[in-house]
Subunit: 236 residues, 2 copies
């Protein structure tokens, strides 16, 4: 057959991504990744140095696709509202149809520091792209003023969460979901005549935190994942 090397590598990535999505990085075994392809697990080490490198390659694969999509939209001359809609729609459809749910859900911590750094940097580019479109819309006046960073997180959260409940065999196809999400997520941004009631008890800090970095450091904190080692914080 044609180019076995590269093809097999991609095959492995597909299988690995599926396994990682189902069981998580640590839960997925090298053996199940291999046997899904009728391979022996030892054989994977002919194509990748180790399990961690497979995860890294999966991340890069997804980011290649999503960032290409972002760049295409950003380069266009569409008004912000249309840009955002195109982004949401194709983002959702790509995640569901092409990446089959694997995208930004994969684990980051197992990555080696050097790899982690690179992945986070690219995630940052993605975040900033979305914020840029939002900001553009606010400056134009199409979107109501607000914290572009928080709004971008909200949009990405809604989208990134989809794989958790999406059923490929369900009645709602990816286009329906993509359309509905775009409608809803954009509607909330519009320069509104709406009432904006504050509801229940009075809130201390109402809205606009600074649009700049939430934290002091200018360092990128991809997708906001606490990149550093420290973040302790007790739960429950």
């Amino acid at each position: 057959m044609a180019r076995p090397q590269r093809d097999t590598r991609v095959e492995i990535l597909k299988s690995a991504a599926a396994a990682f999505r189902r069981r998580g990085y640590h839960g997925a075994t090298v053996e199940e990744i291999a046997t899904a392809l009728d391979m022996n697990k030892g054989n994977l080490y002919y194509y990748f140095r180790n399990k961690e490198e497979i995860l890294y390659a999966c991340h890069q694969y997804s980011l290649d696709i999503l960032l290409a999509l972002l760049d295409e939209v950003l380069a266009s001359a569409d008004p912000p509202e249309v840009k955002l809609r195109r982004l949401i729609v194709s983002f959702v459809q790509t995640i569901l149809d092409e990446l089959h749910g694997t995208a930004l859900f994969m684990d980051l911590q197992p990555l080696a520091p050097a790899h982690l750094q690179k992945v986070i940097a690219r995630r940052d580019r993605f975040d900033r792209g979305i914020r840029q479109v939002l900001q553009e819309g606010m400056d134009t006046g199409v979107f109501a003023a607000g914290d572009a960073k928080l709004l971008a997180f909200a949009i990405l959260g809604a989208v990134n969460w989809i794989p958790r409940w999406f059923d490929p065999h369900g009645a709602a196809p990816s286009e329906t979901i993509a359309g509905a999400f775009a409608d809803y997520l954009i509607a909330g941004l519009r320069q509104g005549e709406g009432v904006r009631l504050q509801g229940c008890r009075p809130r201390a800090a109402g809205y606009g935190a600074p649009t700049t970095d939430t934290k002091g450091d200018g360092r990128s904190k991809g997708q906001g994942v606490r990149s550093g080692p420290k973040p302790e914080a007790r739960s429950l």
Copy 2:
């Protein structure tokens, strides 16, 4: 001291939830859960049968809190818009301040079938509660017509994603985030005079999939997680 049994159990849950959030179920070791409490790992088995039971208890703990919150709001006589705002605001604040980011992010698959079933059932209750408020708002006319199920997923996704980027030491406190998210997520629901442009290329299925279950089965599929064993689906 007072009641050692129950207190120690909760201490363990706190430590375990933090570990699970950071490394995932399989990535977290029983030893790190124990040493964080200056305990010997063997000692945990005096309080819990095994690791899986700890995860289960974590889920139940979170659900206890969140469902209590839901019930309180549902029981009120507030109009739908206020109900929804209260839900979003206190949901966000509870997740960030009380649960420290642990909530619906924890793994489900490692749970034993019996436990999984119970957790999913309770998650379903939560989902349906949100949908109920949305539907109420649509029936009243405060909210624009739409697919309550999809909208609920979008809202929960935005909220559930927060722990991925939230920095407890960052400049944006939980109240700010809670308020901003509530504003944005509710604004998108309002019965709008808005233009609703469709943007780019024409979409096949525009919006309203049936409000009823997306799938044919009436069985609950908690938070939409594909509960069954099958769902294969290749990625990448």
